[in-house]
Symmetry: C2
Subunit: 265 residues, 2 copies
Amino acid sequence: MYIIGELINGMYKNVARAIAERDKTFVQSLAQLQVEAGAAALDLSCGPLSRSPLDDMLWLIDVVQDSVQVSLSLDTTKLNIMEEGLKRLRKNGIINSTSADLERLEAYLPLANKYNASLIALTMDKKGVPQDKDRRLELAAFILDVAQRNGLSPSSIFLDPILMPINVAQNQLFGILEALRDFKLLSDPAPKTVVGLSNISQGAKDRRLINRTFLTMAQGFGLDSAILDPLDEALMESLIAGELILNKTIYCADFVAAYRKSKRI
Amino acid sequence: MYIIGELINGMYKNVARAIAERDKTFVQSLAQLQVEAGAAALDLSCGPLSRSPLDDMLWLIDVVQDSVQVSLSLDTTKLNIMEEGLKRLRKNGIINSTSADLERLEAYLPLANKYNASLIALTMDKKGVPQDKDRRLELAAFILDVAQRNGLSPSSIFLDPILMPINVAQNQLFGILEALRDFKLLSDPAPKTVVGLSNISQGAKDRRLINRTFLTMAQGFGLDSAILDPLDEALMESLIAGELILNKTIYCADFVAAYRKSKRI
């Protein structure tokens, strides 16, 4: 599982404060903790309250890159911030995100090519989020088709079926699991798949239980990557046990400790 | 999920003692606790140390039936004990178990018919436990074929792919998950599926983590039933969250408490 740490996000008050006050120590500590817990990449978002989102994003990128060596996922809806950010990266990055709308795809695909970045593509368009698996597959196929015409390999695309909150769209969740499995069949090489895990439990009780249970099921359906909180220990233990059951890490008696040790820098 | 409680088993020392000393209170309390925790059926096994296995099984059946109203799964390899036990049941029972060997099937299928019992059928034969999914499917198809010729509906059969310990056969586990899914396609009406959950973690550390992670994945692959420890609270919470994600129970804010309440007698 390719883990993208979600915690450096200005929608959290303490992160918004750290960005506003240029509190480098706080942000770097959050970066290091996530990487030590197993994150292979870190998502960076200035959040909705940022007054100077371009400056804030560039500051975040610099500060985090000075602290850890992992890939960064740039989470912004502004095309110019995305490009300025990509220019600043020292390793190949992740564009988070495009939708299946043609004009957005045609704006972001060239950026992915130019900066050797991966691209998270949400299977939604102007009509909104799909209500069923078939529509998700249709939009995924469209994304891969446009990507191919723009010269980006499917293996650089993370298809995101858009995980819906369980208290809003409980009846869609199995279709989302099936979409994760079926996305992989749409092209050769196969695209990658990703979910924003915490979406499923928005507004619910027992959020961590719902998150880790869905993640385990999604692992069974072949999920490649998730944007999640790597500091949630029970979640990480589930994830490690899931990898073990799927034979993706070798069993040993102390498998949780061994996995953690293997991820330490 | 149809939960079969596993705790009344003479392989546990305290249960062996209770059986030997005819400690009714101990056994009835174990029955009640499991049912209150969500078990829809209880497995009864006298264990390997039983000196008078027929008497012990009949005593267990009587004592448990006087205490709870659920179905009983009779776990014995002796045909005569199975039949005497089935005669004694006040509700339809479960025969645990037959293999795919023709002579065993031809002995147990008539019993299932005669006593309106369900039949747990292990996909193994004299050659041993299969090493891959295809052989499991082959044996499952054979079981269903013999069952049909003996007039037992597939819906009365619980196919058990035989869950292997993760420290012995890690590379078989995904095939076992796929077998659980594919068994359902072998007949119409579909057979039911079951696993003996704790097998997966025999001899491993972090047994409960491995058990619940596998159970969640198996739920995603359509597992109908499991023989498990319903007193393992983290396991039951995973199971409840899994049912919720699969839209098998209706979401409400207090879903764990609500599920538990709905199962109380």
